[in-house]
């Protein structure tokens, strides 16, 4: 990634006054940009902790552009998914992540690729940050064989190495995450498991079961509650006796983090991951974030909240805009540069869409494969007793 940006910024340096599309790119020497700057970040509320994440963080130009790119790709990808869904090219269920990009980008920046991550159904962002290409994500949404789960999983069931999905049942992934953390501890590999859930899932019984086990056995599990204020159509006040989700772990320490600021998320995740890795046991992070779309594509998202509220968050608190403004005001990048990135991303998403809409569907023979793991192929009953399908694995 770094080399790509070096290439781009070098290329921009060499070009003088050449028209690129309708934008004139002026000569900008690399020296004009600040390569590193320090930013104040919001103080995190703490529970059961003496000290928390730092109040200042450093960001390099490269890191900033990387964050911008990652978040913008997620944004464009989700908007493209919205478009494809409305055209009925994507069917079934589709839960979009736009508005929450800073969470996925910030978390990934603070953990290693060898760490583990599991989340619920609003998973497209994490699928991307965990290393799956936009192509494979969109092809999975359209149900084609080039999709990351071979077209058989769909929106809620995308997986990658060290990324365990993508889970449809609310809260079911949390005990799984605790289990993965146990495996990490058992294998002594210094890895952690980041286990995400939402404000709606925070009221599920199995979450508390997982909390207890993780704390009892000091598992390296980083529980993250992505609080986007609404569990489907129910606001947090109407669903929870306590909306301080970072305190819900009770005997587990917790941090409440501004989930719209990617730097805040990064620092908090670093702090929390360090807590887990040094054997202090599990910790909860509550990321306060917001989703622009409704719960899913069948939810317009305006019957339980006002358009003004959504607009306000978009204009005052958008994660991508926040980062962009920070970088521009510190002279870390130029408006043209961001535009270039946008154009590139648009093309990337378009190409991915082209692939996703033209790739072929998985063959019928694939339908029943991988039900079991067995050697001899298994006969599976089809839609009536005389239709037998074959299941190989």
């Amino acid at each position: 990634m770094t080399s790509v940006w070096r290439f781009v910024s070098n290329a921009l340096c060499r070009i003088t006054g050449r028209k690129v599309g309708s934008t004139v790119v002026v000569s900008n020497s690399l020296n004009e940009f600040t390569t590193r700057a320090s930013f104040d970040i919001k103080k995190c509320d703490l529970h059961g902790l003496e000290a928390g994440p730092p109040l200042k963080t450093e960001l390099s130009r490269d890191e900033g552009l990387r964050f911008y790119r990652t978040m913008q790709v997620m944004r464009r990808m989700e908007l493209k998914a919205d478009q494809l869904y409305k055209q009925k090219i994507i069917r079934g269920f589709c839960h979009l992540y736009d508005g929450q990009e800073a969470c996925a980008a910030g978390v990934e920046a603070a953990i290693d690729p060898s760490d583990h991550l599991i989340t619920a159904y609003r998973a497209h962002g994490y699928t991307y940050t965990r290393g799956v290409s936009v192509r494979e994500i969109l092809a999975e949404l359209t149900g084609r064989r080039g999709g990351v789960a071979k077209g058989k999983g769909g929106s809620m069931h995308m997986y990658a190495p060290n990324f365990y999905g993508g889970n449809g049942i609310v809260g079911a992934q949390v005990p799984l995450g605790a289990g993965i953390a146990l495996a990490c501890k058992y294998q002594g590999n210094n890895q952690i498991c980041v286990t995400l859930y939402g404000d709606g899932a925070a009221n599920q019984g199995q979450i508390f079961e997982a909390f207890n086990m993780a704390a009892l056995w000091k598992l390296p599990c980083l529980f993250i509650c992505e609080n986007n204020k609404y569990g489907m159509g129910t606001s947090v006040e109407r669903a929870s006796a306590s909306t301080d989700y970072y305190k819900r772990g009770h005997f587990m320490p917790g941090i409440r983090v501004d989930g719209m600021d990617v730097l805040c998320v990064r620092e908090a995740t670093k702090f929390a991951a360090d807590h887990c890795r040094t054997g202090k046991g599990p910790i909860i992070m509550e990321l306060q974030t917001y989703r622009y779309h409704g719960h899913s594509m069948s939810d317009p998202g305006v019957s339980y909240r006002t358009r003004e509220e959504i607009q306000e968050v978009r204009s005052k608190n958008d994660p991508i805009s926040l980062l962009k403004e920070r970088m521009l005001s510190s002279n870390m990048a130029s408006v043209e540069e961001f535009k270039e990135i946008d154009i590139e991303i648009r093309k990337e998403v378009e190409d991915a869409t082209q692939f996703a809409t033209s790739d072929s569907e998985p063959p019928l023979e694939e339908l029943c494969n991988h039900i079991f793991s067995n050697n001899p192929p298994l006969q599976v009953r089809g839609t009536h007793p005389w239709a037998k399908l074959k299941s190989s694995s």
Binding site: V170, Q204, T234, S240, T383
Partner: protein
């Protein structure tokens, strides 16, 4: 699952060459069906949807329950709940999102009409909802709990099977949660995939103490739901979600009940007995017509309605009649 042949034929069947099979030989009957479905399955093209072929066949207008009104399935459920809240002052309805009307509009208007202490939302916790419902029922109030999709009923499985089903028996009839009715949208729609399509009645069919009921249409739904609510045993009422809007019938406005554990013979026949419930009843209606038309086979169609305890008498009597027994 009922032994049900589900066809994916979309009206092209008249052009298919089909050998006429006389009644009797089971194998040739089967292989002809196989040929029919193979023909339509071959050469799957991208993006053309073959699934979810479903035509609702309405019942004739009931005359014995008073004046009727045109209602679809979710409206007939609302009507049943409305009747219940009006006639039973202890009745309460709760579940996820029921206050604004529910994700399938089954509880629209009830909170405004009866108050927020009788129709209220619960947080996202199925095990909690059912456990809580059992408590409400044991204490004497009529509890109508909604599980948002039958696919989500599994966290509550322990409460249903271990607590609700066994309460009366283990307390020697001192306590019971007969006032509990659990409602859940059920069955496939075509795009629901893993977690919005399940039909879990078989899991509950082995828990004595429970009643499991599935209607085939709005008239049945209202009558059966009212029977479940009135029944002194904990009942699970599954509502075929594909029919919420698609099924429209003339439904009686007043309260009425349809007896539980009584299967209904929808069509008399002499060669084969087809048993189904919910959505499949309509598929089998088409099957029975097709079989008569194409193969000259006379099918008996039975809607089981109550899965547990099921009407063994009706089904077996029909079956033994076919075998020529007494």
């Amino acid at each position: 699952m009922a032994a049900a042949a589900r066809f994916l034929i979309r009206g092209a069947n008249s052009k298919l060459p089909i050998a006429v099979v006389g009644s009797g030989a089971h194998c040739s009957f089967g292989s002809t069906f196989l040929k029919l479905s193979l023909n339509c399955n071959s050469g799957i093209k991208t993006q053309r949807r073959h699934a979810a072929h479903f035509t609702f066949q309405p019942d004739p207008v009931p005359t014995q329950f008073g004046p009727t009104q045109k209602m679809n399935l979710f409206q007939s459920v609302t009507s049943a709940l409305d009747n219940t809240l009006a006639n039973d002052p202890t009745a309460v309805i709760f579940g996820e999102d029921v206050a604004f009307g529910g994700v399938f509009r089954c509880t629209v208007g009830l909170r405004d009409k009866y108050g927020k202490d009788r129709v209220f939302n619960t947080p996202l916790c199925e095990q909690g909802i059912v456990g809580f419902g059992i408590g409400v029922a044991v204490a004497g109030a009529t509890a109508i709990a909604e599980i948002q999709f039958a696919d989500y009923i599994f966290p509550a499985f322990d409460q249903i099977v271990n607590e609700a089903a066994k309460y009366r028996y283990r307390s020697g009839d001192l306590f019971d949660c007969g006032n509990l009715t659990i409602r859940a949208p059920w069955g496939c729609v075509g795009h629901g995939s893993l977690y919005h399509s399940q039909s879990p009645e078989a899991f509950f069919a082995h828990a004595p103490g429970l009643k499991v009921v599935i209607p085939r249409g709005p008239v049945q739904a209202k009558g059966l739901l009212l029977s479940c609510i009135a029944d002194k045993n904990p009942c699970i009422f599954f509502e075929p979600k594909i029919m919420y809007r698609a099924a429209v019938e003339q439904v009686p406005v007043e309260s009425y009940t349809i007896p539980l554990s009584q299967a209904e013979v929808l069509q008399e026949g002499s060669d084969v007995t087809l048993v189904a419930w919910g959505t499949q009843v309509h598929v089998l209606r088409e099957v029975a017509n097709l079989a008569q038309e194409k193969l000259g086979v006379s099918c008996e169609l039975i809607d089981l309605q109550t899965i547990l305890p099921w009407d063994v008498e009706t089904v077996c009597k029909k079956w033994s009649n076919e075998l020529g027994g007494g």
